[in-house]
C-alpha cells in the first residue's frame, strides 16, 4: 500500500506541477467538459490538451469517457479513493497470507536443519 500510494502521489504531484493542468482540474471541478471545450478555453491545440488530459488521467485525477465522437472529462478523485480502498484490502489479505507463509517456511527451514545434521552424523 505504501508503495502504491507513493507511486500514485508521485504521478499526482507531477500532474499538478503544470499550471494548465491545475486550471483544467479547477474547470472540471465546476463542470464536466469535452477535450475540445478545454482546448478552446485554454487556447491550446486539441493534441496539446489531449496530452494534458492523459497525464491527469494516468494520475487518477481525471476520468474520461468517449460517447460518439466526443470525449468527456470529469474529476476522477472518487474513483481513486475507491480503488485505493480495495487495493488496501487486497494488501491486507496478502500481508496476512505472507505472515503465515513466513511461519510455514521457518518451520521447513528448521526441519531441514535437523535433517541435515542427521545426515551428516
Amino acid at each position: 500500500m505504501v508503495q502504491y500510494t507513493r507511486a500514485r502521489l508521485d504521478a499526482s504531484f507531477a500532474a499538478l506541477s503544470d499550471a494548465t493542468r491545475r486550471g483544467v482540474l479547477e474547470q472540471l471541478g465546476r463542470a464536466d467538459a469535452s477535450i475540445t471545450d478545454l482546448a478552446e478555453k485554454f487556447h491550446m491545440t486539441l493534441t496539446g490538451m489531449k496530452k494534458h488530459v492523459r497525464v491527469l488521467e494516468l494520475a487518477g485525477l481525471v476520468t474520461t469517457e468517449k460517447v460518439g465522437r466526443v470525449r468527456t472529462c470529469k474529476l476522477g478523485l472518487r474513483g481513486l479513493a475507491e480503488e485505493a480502498a480495495w487495493i488496501e484490502r487486497y494488501h491486507q489479505l496478502w500481508e496476512a497470507r505472507f505472515d503465515e507463509l513466513d511461519k510455514v517456511v521457518e518451520e521447513l527451514k528448521r526441519k531441514e536443519k535437523v535433517d541435515g545434521h542427521k545426515k551428516r552424523e
Binding site: M1, Y4, I87, R89, H91, W94, E100, K103, L108
Partner: protein, 175 residues
C-alpha cells in the same frame, strides 16, 4: 521499531507491496528469509499451502484444497464456513518450473479471470517473491476489485454473525 524483537528467533517481518502496474496488471511483492526451494515447497504442497492461504486473522476458512501441481494440472480451493454456500476457486497450472516459477489460470469467474504468475528469485539465501496478475481487460480488474471488496464484506458479516451467536451464550465485552 521494537528493538527487543531483534534478540528473538523470529526475524523481522518483511514488507508486502501491492501495486497496480497498469490497467490490467496487479503486482504483489514480498521477500522471505529462506531459500527459494522452501518457499516454492510451501506454495505447491497442499498440506503446507493450507496453513497459510486462508489466514485466520482475515476470518477465512479453507474447507478443501486440491492441487495437481504440474503443467496442465488442476487446482480447486473451497472456502467458507457454510458448506451449503461454498466459495470455490479453480483453474489450471500452465507453467511449473521448480523453485522459480509458477503460472496458473483463475477460471471461476469465466473469461474475466486473470492469469497469475509467481516468480521466486533467490539471492543470498533470501527469496524475492513477485506475484503478477494479468487481467484480460481493465474492466475485469476493476470488477475483481469490487468483488474482492464485497467478499471481504461478507467475511466480516460472517464474523458479525459469529459474534452475535457467541454473544447470546455469554456476555461479550468483558474479556
Amino acid at each position: 521499531m521494537d528493538t527487543r524483537r531483534e534478540s528473538e528467533a523470529t526475524p523481522m517481518k518483511n514488507r508486502t507491496t501491492v501495486e497496480r502496474k497498469s490497467d490490467r496488471e496487479l503486482v504483489v511483492t514480498r521477500t522471505f528469509n529462506a531459500p527459494a526451494r522452501l518457499v516454492f515447497e510451501a506454495w505447491t504442497t497442499p498440506e503446507l499451502f493450507k496453513q497459510w492461504w486462508a489466514p485466520k486473522s482475515m476470518g477465512m476458512f479453507l474447507r478443501s484444497c486440491e492441487m495437481d501441481v504440474r503443467v496442465g494440472g488442476r487446482y480447486r480451493l473451497v472456502f467458507g464456513h457454510d458448506a451449503s454456500n461454498p466459495d470455490e476457486f479453480f483453474g489450471r497450472y500452465i507453467e511449473v518450473t521448480p523453485h522459480s516459477r509458477l503460472v496458473w489460470t483463475n477460471d471461476e469467474g469465466g473469461d474475466g479471470g486473470p492469469v497469475t504468475t509467481v516468480t521466486f528469485e533467490e539471492k543470498d539465501g533470501k527469496t524475492l517473491l513477485v506475484m503478477h496478475e494479468l487481467y484480460p481487460s481493465r474492466e475485469a480488474l476493476d470488477a475483481a476489485g469490487t468483488g474482492a471488496a464485497d467478499a471481504m464484506g461478507e467475511t466480516f458479516e460472517q464474523l458479525d454473525e459469529l459474534l452475535v451467536t457467541l454473544g447470546t451464550g455469554a456476555s461479550v465485552g468483558q474479556s
